[in-house]
């Protein structure tokens, strides 16, 4: 009984964790290409979800049309943000870059809520809310769908980074100067990574919006996403997947045992603790690269 309970906690934690990874992939893409920690990723996720909702509900489009349309629009938005706001800050101190992404976060949230209002709405993706039984273990269907989406996205990106365009993006992540010297447009590459991250935000927005409703709370995923990204090493997509699994399990199991002791709500505490511990003990995370030093 106890063991089955633990297995259930672990399984559901792992699935939730993969959903964090889904969010964190966006952070990783941008950090990899430009070393910019995008604190507006939460807001982008929120905008993505609202956009799909607006297209599907308000404009009456079917979901299969609304989602790609929103993805295209968000791709443009991401590229635009990079072009207008971030590009001119290249080479400035990190504090200004952080503040810029925070400003974008505040702006996007304010604008979205001013346009569509703050009342929580939902998609109705057609995923049943009845749990799935695997032996003794109860699993939420939407979490399973989301986790599958995360894994799918991961595979897509792994494949993308093996194409010629993807190789160029990895080259940009390695060395700006050398990229320029062989005619790779670093600016366009960084813009592309913002566009891709915004598409990831749409995916995360849909899944999380289905789980907890489309409202302002979507932007609060940022802390969990950041923790996952940092634990995974900030520039490794595989690291983000693994870190998501770890955080999800630790959080789900930990909070179940910790909640009765502290009177509930220990999830955020665990996440913050993991973030602090990671930075203190292993700042480059599980798979972050420290620059290769050859002796």
């Amino acid at each position: 009984m106890e063991l089955a309970f633990l297995a259930e906690l672990t399984a559901n934690g792992a699935l939730t964790g993969l959903l964090y990874s889904l969010f964190a992939i966006g952070l990783v893409l941008i950090y990899k290409a430009s070393s910019v920690p995008n604190l507006a990723q939460g807001a982008l996720t929120m905008v993505g979800a609202y956009l799909v909702l607006a297209l599907a509900r308000d404009a009456g489009l079917p979901l299969w049309a609304a989602i790609p349309l929103a993805a295209v629009a968000m791709f443009g938005l991401g590229m635009g943000i990079e072009r207008v706001a971030l590009r001119r800050l290249a080479g400035r101190p990190i504090v200004m870059i952080l503040m810029m992404t925070l400003g974008i976060d505040i702006f996007l949230r304010g604008t979205t809520l001013a346009i569509w209002g703050g009342t929580s709405r939902s998609f109705d993706l057609g995923v049943s809310s009845d749990p799935l039984f695997l032996g003794d273990i109860l699993i939420s269907r939407i979490n399973l769908v989301g986790a599958a989406a995360a894994v799918l996205l991961f595979v897509v990106f792994v494949m993308f980074f093996r194409t010629r365009l993807g190789t160029r993006l990895r080259a940009i992540a390695d060395d700006y100067m050398a990229s320029w010297s062989v005619g790779i447009s670093v600016e366009r590459g960084v813009g592309l990574s913002w566009g891709l991250a915004s598409i990831v935000a749409v995916a995360a927005g849909i899944i999380w919006g289905e789980i907890q409703g489309v409202d302002q709370s979507l932007s609060l995923l940022l802390l969990k996403g950041l923790t996952v990204a940092v634990l995974g090493g900030l520039d490794s997509i595989f690291g983000a997947m693994l870190a998501g699994l770890i955080l999800g399990i630790v959080e789900n199991v930990g909070s179940t045992y910790l909640d009765p002791l502290v009177g509930g709500g220990s999830r955020d505490l665990i996440v913050a603790a993991v973030l602090i511990l990671t930075v203190m003990v292993r700042p480059h995370g599980l798979f972050g690269r420290h620059d290769i030093e050859r002796v």
């Binding site: 010629r164 100067m177 320029w180 050859r294």
Partner: protein, 272 residues
């Protein structure tokens, strides 16, 4: 001395007294005029901080990345003015700059390094053929083409950097200190390959070197840069036999007392 018209036409690159400003305040080079003949090999010599690398960056357009700009003068490549073009466009036109310090893409394999440098318009088949050519020039790279580039030896990294530059299909290759930190036999090997590529493909080469001895062996012309100015320009043969050059850049020479050195510096001032 004005060059004859037909000689002018044979230039692939010429800079006309260019000045470079960093951060709008620091004048790094003060009127450098050099010319590279089509299919020729030219060396820029000079000591540390003389302005050799800055000259190359001005030509390749990489200055912008370091907050520098060409504030006076002009650069023309195959008769077109390129002074203000973005770096990417210059690469497309056929100028490729192998930057100092063998900056390979460390986390990519050598094979991917070559892929990344190929223009996106190149078809997969051409790409593979081009890669094959480069592996023929540098058999050592072929052996290690799937290991991580960051873990290659210094010589292999330099070869990879040159090979990567060749993937952009350049007509003018600019090399910044390819011999830096390499064993003499590797320097000789790399220089031989450069010479071979120059001969076989008619690729023009502009070489920046501190290792003047090795450089003067393979080039036809040399420019000597001091304090951001060209102070001497002659054929490689003449430079090699010049006593001042021997004294200061080739090691050896005959001057052993201060009088000769003083004499040299006075002349240098006059030249600049």
């Amino acid at each position: 001395m004005t060059p004859a018209p037909d000689k002018e036409a044979a230039k692939i690159l010429s800079t006309n007294s260019i000045e470079v400003l960093y951060d709008n305040v620091m004048l790094a080079i003060k009127g450098v005029s050099i010319q590279v003949p089509k299919g020729g090999m030219v060396a820029l010599l000079g000591s540390n901080g003389a302005g050799k690398s800055t000259t190359l960056k001005a030509i390749s357009g990489l200055l912008k990345a370091e907050r520098g700009r060409v504030s006076r003068g002009e650069i023309s490549f195959e008769g077109t003015l390129i002074t203000d073009l973005p770096a990417q466009q210059r690469v497309e036109m056929g100028i490729c700059h192998v930057i100092e310090g063998r900056r390979v893409f460390e986390h990519l394999t050598p094979d991917e390094n070559l892929d990344a440098a190929a223009p996106m318009s190149m078809t997969r088949a051409t790409l593979n053929a081009e890669k094959q050519k480069i592996y023929e020039y540098f058999p050592r790279l072929a052996e290690r083409k799937n290991s991580q580039a960051g873990y290659l030896s210094g010589g292999e990294q330099q070869m990879l950097a040159i090979g990567r530059a060749l993937m952009t299909q350049p007509r003018l290759l600019m090399l910044d200190e390819p011999s830096l930190g390499l064993a003499p036999f590797l320097v000789a090997e790399i220089f031989n390959i450069i010479k071979k590529i120059n001969k076989v493909h008619g690729l023009s080469v502009l070489l920046v070197e501190q290792n003047a001895l090795a450089a003067l062996e393979i080039v036809s012309d040399g420019y000597l840069i001091e304090n951001g100015r060209v102070v001497m320009h002659d054929t490689a043969q003449a430079l090699k036999s010049n006593s001042d050059i021997q004294e200061f850049y080739l090691g050896g020479g005959s001057a052993t007392n201060f009088h000769d050195i003083k004499h040299y510096s006075r002349r240098k001032r006059w030249l600049s």
